[in-house]
């Protein structure tokens, strides 16, 4: 649905009014783009400068002798604790934690939203309200009780493995993180889908039901195909939050083997002594953010218009 353009064409019909309109819109969009890009610009130019230039030059100036050295160092040489092999090795740790966590929490959110709007039961508002309010729990205050529970699950996992040979992932730091992120992401994913499905025409569901479609059939055939924009939003939100989480990651998976990207990045950036290599830090931050940026660009393509049957085509 695009509005400003269409009525302009219809009501005034004047090309000039329309053109002015467009110029104003593009001008505003460009202006805001500058505001958003400014820090990125600072980071980018810094990451291509030598340390001398950073210390003696203006932070907004372009690098006089651009160097890739900081990027190479951040990727493969900088020290994360005692291991000096760059941050490249931590991608996999983060990816194998983030993808399941995002998928599970998003899917559960979609199902919850579907139930809470199209299969309402007595007390559905209360259930939703309680899940929603859960978004506000301060993570600092769940850190310790959650650790205690994960710890006992881990010990149970050891017992289980001794008895059956399988621990079912209990006690595995990656599994723990996935669990934690699903638990504390559910409120948001449910909120997003519930509020999106709220505006979704219930007649379609009703009609399908009359045709004998089951609960899951309706979800798969009718709801999911029409949920692209909210899927994009939810995935972006969950991916970003989980990828960038530091508190849980450092507390539950701090050990080298499962250490996620944020903890590694933090260890590169947040050192308090020694000459701070701002250029390497900036490069590392951008490398660490690449997967999220990729998700934004790729997922963003699915913000297509006209998703609903019969909706505007341009």
């Amino acid at each position: 649905m695009s509005v400003i353009a269409t009525p302009a064409r219809q009501s005034t019909g004047g090309v000039s009014a329309r053109t002015v309109n467009r110029i104003v819109i593009y001008g505003l969009l460009a202006l805001f783009a500058l505001f958003y890009l400014m820090p990125l610009f600072v980071m980018l130019v810094t990451s291509f400068k030598t340390m001398d230039e950073i210390q003696n030059g203006n932070m907004l100036a372009l690098p006089q002798a651009p160097t890739f050295e900081p990027w190479l160092k951040a990727w493969g040489e900088t020290c994360v604790g005692l291991t000096c092999a760059g941050i490249k090795g931590y991608f996999w740790n983060s990816i194998k934690m983030v993808i399941p966590a995002v998928l599970i929490s998003t899917l559960l959110g979609a199902l919850n939203g579907y139930v809470l709007t199209k299969w309402r039961f007595r007390g559905h508002t209360l259930v939703f309200g309680l899940m929603l309010f859960a978004c506000f729990i301060p993570f600092q205050s769940v850190l310790l009780p959650m650790a205690t529970i994960l710890g006992s699950l881990g010990r149970f996992g050891v017992t289980l493995r001794n008895a059956t040979g399988l621990s079912f992932g209990l006690g595995n730091p990656t599994v723990n993180l996935v669990f934690v992120h699903v638990v504390y992401g559910l409120g948001f994913t449910t909120l997003f889908f519930r509020n999106y499905y709220e505006a979704f025409p219930t007649e379609l569901v009703k009609a399908a039901q009359v045709d004998g479609a089951s609960f899951f059939q309706i979800f798969r055939r009718i709801m999911l195909p029409n949920s692209m924009p909210i899927f994009v939003v939810t995935v972006i939100y969950q991916f970003t939050n989980i990828w960038n989480d530091f508190l849980f990651a450092s507390a539950y998976a701090g050990t080298g083997d499962a250490m996620p990207m944020t903890v590694a990045l933090n260890n590169v950036v947040n050192t308090s002594t020694g000459v701070v290599e701002y250029n390497v830090n900036m490069a590392a931050a951008m490398i660490a953010a690449l997967p999220t940026l990729l998700v934004y660009v790729v997922a963003g393509r699915y913000f297509v218009r006209g998703l609903m049957a019969g909706a505007v085509k341009g």
């Binding site: 820090p39 203006n58 899940m131």
Partner: protein
């Protein structure tokens, strides 16, 4: 919005039918079964832990949780600190900052997000380029973007110095060094980070609106402004709710924003309640006080959110 209230109320009718087979009973219970695990997890890991926090706030837990109830000393201290404005106690600073930051941050993000989404929805050439530009601040960890902002706002390094070099020597912008203004720099950086995502939420909402409604209104001769004010924005109500919740949640959890940008600000003047909570629980080993502040925060949120949720979620008459 009229269609929304038309709900399917099949479930109770099915239940009432006598002699329903096990299978159809299962079908009826299915939605609840699907919802149950999420709900159960929430009850245990959110509300259970909230109770635990409430309990700890009445103990004298210090470095570690201690389970002997010792009374409400933590609350008495917080209560006393609430009124210590000269010199400001850390708690007084935290809650007044929360008021300023929370209001400005949520309001500006909502306004800017909606505005950009509407602009971006005008069949913009290059939407695919602009959208990630508005969104990317969310992708970067504030551990590092904080440094970039810190430089930019630093009078000796960033904007002020650059403008001085360009000849505008009377320009003065040292909020980040000023104990009375530092919180506004936190607002600027916070808005920069989150407003793009709010834009995406509104954009998704706009794209989900049935085009037929719009067409009908246009045929009726509504102006663009009327169209948005009377039809589109009311239709986006659920998105406002989502956006508000996301922003409120980000606002009360803006811990690293403050730390990375200001290291707490001059004399601790940039603290937010989340900084207070973290400091007391983990750094000062006064877990009871930290827990009590968490409880106060949750109660404040309850007082603000619950009426809003109630008005948003109750069944509206058709």
């Amino acid at each position: 919005m009229t269609t929304v209230a038309t709900q399917i109320k099949l479930t109770p009718e099915h239940n009432a039918r006598p002699g329903a087979s096990v299978r159809s009973r299962l079908q009826d219970a299915l939605p609840k079964i699907v919802l149950a695990p999420s709900f159960a997890i929430t009850i245990v890991f959110v509300y259970g832990f909230i109770l635990w926090t409430v309990y700890l706030s009445f103990t004298n837990s210090k470095t570690f949780p201690s389970y002997a109830i010792t009374g409400s000393r933590a609350y008495q201290r917080l209560w006393r600190w609430t009124f210590e404005s000269d010199p400001p106690s850390s708690w007084y600073t935290s809650i007044t900052n929360m008021g300023i930051f929370g209001f400005l941050y949520i309001f500006i993000c909502l306004a800017l997000g909606l505005f950009l989404a509407i602009l971006l929805d005008q069949k913009i050439r290059g939407e695919g380029v602009l959208r990630p530009i508005y969104l990317y601040p969310m992708a970067l960890s504030f551990i590092v973007t904080g440094v970039a902002w810190k430089w930019f706002l630093d009078p000796g390094l960033g904007l002020e110095q650059t403008l001085h070099q360009w000849g505008w020597t009377s320009f003065h912008f040292d909020w980040i060094k000023n104990k009375d203004f530092v919180i506004y720099t936190v607002v600027i950086a916070g808005v920069w980070q989150a407003s793009g995502f709010i834009m995406a939420m509104f954009l998704a909402g706009l794209r989900g609106i049935d085009g037929e409604i719009m067409k009908a209104a246009q045929i009726d001769g509504a102006t663009t402004f009327q169209l948005y004010r009377r039809i589109v924005i009311p239709l986006l109500r659920p998105v406002f709710l989502s956006a508000f919740i996301v922003l409120a949640h980000l606002a009360i959890k803006s811990y690293d924003l403050v730390v990375a940008l200001t290291s707490g600000g001059p004399g601790g003047s940039a603290w937010l309640p989340s900084n207070f909570m973290y400091e007391y629980t983990f750094k000062r080993n006064e877990m009871a006080v930290g827990s009590a502040s968490a409880v106060i925060m949750l109660m404040t949120i309850t007082a603000i959110i619950v009426p809003y949720l109630y008005s948003e979620l109750r069944e509206r008459p058709r």
